[in-house]
Subunit: 299 residues, 3 copies
């Protein structure tokens, strides 16, 4: 018997995500079981239904996707899903609330195309960005925190910037817990002066802010002579980084390589589909930011 690929979509929003559903279909899923309004308490029965219907050898044909607009809530769902598993009785699972994981992974992968480890950097790491100075603006959001995590694992020396220094510091502390060699410095980026300090010396800046907020002005960007790559993940005007267009895809502006949200989006979509396909290759994958980022090497 050949098993159909079933993706159990758990969404903390009342209506399950259409975006994630379409991508799953385009990645070859045969049947979507889409559930909205899922609470941590409701996870067990749903996941048991996925685990106890096919034999262990066939469980790779069933997988779980967790999406929704509230990443914190969805991380609780992921934890509950993992609690259900034991021994070979498990199914693969992916988290991509609001596209945060695939977006962050795509942004860092875009940056890496144009940067190499710096022999002069302070970094001691061995990652692909060892010693590279990187600034993350709006680093405390769901995407921003994941960008910081991924940059840290590649050995970058990261300026973690937020309008509130305390929240930036929290992100630093949190990332240090899972990546102890991470080189992180918290910065405030509340106005032109503080933002200038946050980007000073950076080779790459990634703006992960909410729509309709300019995080780095066109002037500041052009004045930042160290800057080689500028990536703005906000698609709704005004731009998060002045002068960068949403369609920019490795466009050179003022000597800087620029990416906008749509420019990053193509890779993000390919990553999303690759991750869905990966779910169905074995029954033990857990795809969070790091694992999705790793899939980028094959794209």
């Amino acid at each position: 018997m050949s098993y159909k690929k079933i993706l159990l979509c758990l969404d903390s929003d009342p209506q399950p995500s259409v975006f994630d559903g379409v991508v799953a279909v385009d990645a070859g899923v045969d049947h979507l079981f889409r559930h909205g309004g899922v609470t941590p308490e409701g996870v067990r029965d749903l996941v048991y239904g996925a685990m106890f219907t096919r034999g262990p050898a066939d469980l790779k044909n069933t997988a779980v996707f967790i999406g929704g607009s509230n990443v914190e809530e969805d991380e609780k769902l992921l934890a509950k899903v993992r609690e259900c598993f034991f021994g070979p009785m498990r199914v693969s699972v992916m988290l991509d609330s609001n596209g945060a994981n695939t977006t962050a992974a795509a942004a860092v992968l875009c940056a890496m195309k144009h940067l190499k480890p710096s022999p002069f950097g302070r970094g001691q790491g061995e990652g692909a960005l060892a010693g590279v100075a990187a600034t993350v603006l709006a680093a405390t959001g769901a995407v921003g925190r994941r960008v910081v995590r991924l940059l840290a694992r590649e050995g970058a020396n990261i300026h973690v910037a937020s309008r509130q220094l305390g929240r930036a510091q929290q992100v630093c502390d949190s990332v240090k817990r899972t990546c102890e060699h991470a080189q992180l410095t918290a910065f405030e980026s509340r106005n032109a002066d503080s933002t200038q300090a946050a980007v000073d010396g950076a080779s790459v800046v990634i703006a992960a802010g909410a729509p309709e907020a300019e995080l780095l002005s066109d002037d500041l960007r052009r004045q930042c002579k160290s800057l080689k790559v500028a990536i703005d993940l906000n698609a709704v005007p005004p731009a998060g980084i002045g002068g960068v267009g949403p369609q920019d895809k490795a466009v050179e502006r003022d000597g800087q390589i620029c990416y906008g949200a749509i420019g990053v989006g193509g890779l993000k979509m390919r990553l999303h589909k690759a991750a869905i396909r990966r779910l169905f290759e074995s029954n033990d994958a857990v795809l969070d930011a790091e694992e999705i980022f790793a899939l980028g090497a094959d794209l």
Copy 2:
């Protein structure tokens, strides 16, 4: 890559319509994303998910269907869906709450098979029913209003009847706004006398009433010597038009061609399926009563 056809079903009822789902499957849709309890506020995120997942050239493989039992509510959903679109970023959309559009279109198409433009009519229009006198009973409901709209566009001279004259007049005013040459007269049809006046001189009468209400008695129907076609869209006894059976399909009774709800139903279903298929031919169709009616020419 060949894209699967995805239909996003938005329903204002708590449970999405099974009827519309089955018809969509039978019209060749590969994946249904069925959402119940959809509010106007919730439309944007759902439709963005349909719009931003496939490239403009492939968007014709994704479409939106709006159904439910409350047509007014669903018209708000349709308006919200259309607000989401810009430039080539759009998907085709169809409204058929409670089958109102397909039923009204099928009824008018059935009538047209047996009528031709009248050279003696008051009508100045050029439609297929120019100058034909037509009475619509229970014209203020969802189906009735659409029947009036379609008859008006074909140039008929319409008696718009309702138990309350004021509500009949409102329908006339509303249809005039979108079809300025429409020839509409409001009639009360509260009892035998007023109903007789409403059908007097009509070549066709279409009863679009709720179940379990007789709108035109068998006596009055037979006495109406001008009447060539009688169409009753109510399938639950008693008949909306006395003497017309639900299975009647161009059955001659007392010299009149009669159709019942089930007799019209075959064409209605073919129209419904044709409309679903039409959605997936381009990404810019908006199928409301008029567009669905136009599809009838090819059936």
Copy 3:
């Protein structure tokens, strides 16, 4: 035109069952319409949508599955579904809330493999278990009551045991109403003494209790010299029947043939899939415990 197989899943729980969905896919269903939070009042519109979309000759391609964790509630849904049907306008329907029907049928089928009608029994019936003494522990739950029903139809002489004698008697009375030749005796099984009396002389004992409750101790089981078959339907430790492991599948222990929940599970799953396939062979099947049990003869 070849019709896709559509299964309308009605679930009284807020989230429709994933378990039942996966089994349906594996049994060859093409499209699942999964509805959670279904109330008796909401059944009609949903089932009408299944009945009135395809012609009578094609209605065998649409079916209804009723699941959920609350069997009593689901039995109300089944009654409402059947009320919708008239003449040839009907679709096949199956009830398997919480797997109660397939589990009970599989348990009795497992028992029957090792038992034959007793010429010395009190039974007058002609069933495959005529005169066989059988004890059902926790007989008042959804599974237990169905086990009693199925054993009764096969002519067994049944000890219907519950912690409360009155509730055991209610089950006896209820089963007598539909199976008047049933041989049923209510037993209390509140402690070791009463449980010993309940199993005394039985050739088979089936424990249908909730997880985490021992219904028959290892000692009592071994002391019961009449016992040939012991079936425990509880998969969560401690075992419902002491000494029986969840994986036991016709394992001999102390001269008794033992089955655990997982040991019965393989047959249960095959029955579940066979029942789903049966739904799509005609449009008039109503599959409750007895009909599902009957499908076991072909497996």
